[in-house]
């Protein structure tokens, strides 16, 4: 029998420490929807999504009610659109956005292209359409993979993405560059990621599967409050135990959802995903460990311990772990990161160092509006290099704040939060980016 203390602990995690299931994301394969006619393809895509995801939101709400735990988002990820699109991809984007609205999901990911080694004609068409599509659609998210450990870094794609990020910011400048919050540039993108904006359903995925992302930075912080001043052995153990409990609930929700929707259970993503709400911050876990603010010396080591302990605790709690798994460090979506950026504790260079040991990369960072496309491409190249060399996923989701300078604030609202604009190194990299071509895969790509 479960003891009263255990019941109270679970209830406190949910009611006071913001423990929730961050997302149930249904991955849907769209390869069979390809059609030379874009409208026809779009219609088939719409019909398939509406058929498979019809019960996604109601089932999510049922589970939420029965288990008494919030399931914050119900979302859909689809096959990268460049793989099914034989002409203009824009009509497909409109159909996808309509499907997301019809299904009641807040985001649908997969307006994507995988071009780590080179671009197909469809990839090129999709890339060119991204700024317009993100400005015109509400719920569609886009991602582009420009590098991998096996293929190296496609510097032509990196250069193009610098331009695309800028164009997207310009087209959505009246909403503080909101389009860029829906656009991720990846290295080593994963095929089963449930988190937006970078979710897509990879070519190796089944017809339809449910992937679940857990959360709970507030729970980890509270657990660490009980071991203040203790050595790191104790800190790591405490994080592991907490991550285990959190992930077990994620596993339960994933199993229930897959069963009720009659689809495959894909993975549980063992992530600590913050929100702008107080008590839901990854940065505050780092300050609880003893750094004055995120960004202070010691921050990278603290994050490395956290990221590793979350995985070690979580991996025992689920039979399939995947996605991005680790600690997210988005700036605008984390109150502790926002405060640190405002105080000047957190610089772009420190954030880059932190991405070497966190689950993803430079995330939701507002930069001055006059930052050139080449400089953005340089930032993307640096981040991709970290991912490629360290055999991990890295990503860049930065928002050039058009008309704003360092110290100003951008406001996205809701889960996307707000962020101070942080300065970018003023020295140029135009000649470096202009070279193009491909940075070869590192030696350790040859593992066979």
């Amino acid at each position: 029998m479960i003891e009263t203390g255990e019941i109270l602990q679970t209830m406190r995690m949910i009611q006071e420490e913001n423990f929730d299931i961050r997302t149930i994301t249904m991955g849907i394969n769209l390869l069979d929807c390809a059609d030379p006619d874009a409208e026809c393809c779009g219609q088939r895509v719409y019909d398939k999504i509406c058929r498979l995801a019809a019960r996604l939101v109601p089932v999510g709400e049922e589970i939420e009610r029965e288990l008494g735990i919030p399931i914050v988002n119900k979302r859909i990820s689809v096959t990268p659109v460049s793989m099914i699109c034989q002409g203009d991809p824009r009509p497909i984007a409109r159909w996808l956005d309509r499907a997301a609205l019809e299904m009641g999901v807040n985001f649908l990911g997969g307006y994507s292209a995988l071009m780590q080694k080179g671009a197909t004609a469809a990839d090129e068409r999709l890339l060119s359409s991204i700024p317009e599509v993100l400005a015109e659609t509400e719920r569609l998210c886009s991602s582009v993979n420009v590098a991998s450990t096996r293929a190296g870094i496609n510097m032509d794609a990196v250069r193009r993405m610098g331009e695309i990020v800028r164009e997207t910011a310009e087209l959505t400048c009246e909403r503080d560059g909101l389009g860029c919050a829906k656009l991720v540039v990846f290295a080593n993108a994963v095929e089963d990621n449930p988190f937006m904006a970078g979710a897509f359903c990879g070519a190796g995925e089944p017809e339809c599967a449910v992937n679940v992302g857990v959360s709970g930075p507030g729970v980890v912080k509270t657990a660490l409050e009980a071991v203040r001043g203790a050595p790191f052995d104790v800190v790591a153990e405490t994080v592991k135990r907490t991550a285990f409990k959190i992930t077990r609930v994620g596993q339960l929700v994933a199993r229930e959802a897959a069963q009720r929707l009659s689809v495959r259970f894909g993975i549980v993503d063992l992530s600590l995903a913050p929100t702008p709400a107080r008590g839901d911050s990854v940065a505050h876990i780092l300050t609880e460990m003893g750094v004055e603010m995120a960004g202070a010396p010691g921050t990278t080591a603290a994050l490395a311990l956290l990221n590793d302990a979350v995985k070690k605790g979580g991996v025992m709690a689920s039979n399939h772990v995947g996605g991005l798994s680790g600690a997210f460090i988005p700036v605008s979506e984390d109150i502790g990161m926002i405060e640190a950026a405002q105080a000047g504790a957190l610089t772009l260079e420190k954030l880059e160092a932190m991405t070497c040991v966190c689950s993803v990369g430079l995330d939701m960072i507002a930069i001055p509006g006059d930052t050139s496309a080449a400089t953005i491409a340089g930032i993307i190249a640096d981040e991709a290099a970290i991912g490629v060399v360290n055999n991990k996923t890295t990503a860049v989701r930065i928002i050039p704040a058009i008309g704003k300078k360092a110290g100003d604030t951008v406001e996205f609202g809701g889960l996307l939060g707000h962020a101070p604009v942080i300065p970018v190194n003023q020295f140029k990299c135009d000649d470096f980016i202009a070279r193009g071509g491909r940075i070869p895969a590192p030696l350790h790509a040859l593992r066979n």
């Binding site: 029998m1 479960i2 009263t4 255990e6 019941i7 602990q9 679970t10 209830m11 049922e62 009610r65 029965e66 288990l67 008494g68 735990i69 409990k245 077990r248 609930v249 596993q251 339960l252």
Partner: protein, 90 residues
């Protein structure tokens, strides 16, 4: 057996257990375990029940407590035991 936890919290008053237990009995829901205490004037009760006898959807059972929630001004949560088992038992 579909086990669920009913947690009842709020200012103490006469007849809280009677009220909740009567409702459960009306719905043919068997009580398996009860823990109850008063903390600083706050009534706190946890009941483990078996929902199978009710033979109706979870949401409907939960909604059946709405009149009691309003009448007693108590917070009444109904949730399946699976979440506690998942978190605390291997």
């Amino acid at each position: 057996m579909t086990k669920a936890l009913i947690s009842v919290t709020g200012l103490d008053a006469t007849g809280i257990i009677a009220c909740v237990a009567t409702k459960l009995s009306e719905m043919n829901i068997n009580i398996l375990d009860i823990t109850q205490t008063i903390l600083d004037g706050y009534f706190t009760m946890m009941m483990v029940v078996d929902l199978d006898g009710a033979q109706r959807p979870f949401a409907e059972i939960d909604e059946a407590f709405d009149p009691i929630r309003a009448q007693l001004r108590m917070t009444i949560h109904l949730q399946r035991m699976d979440i506690f088992d998942a978190m605390h038992r291997i």
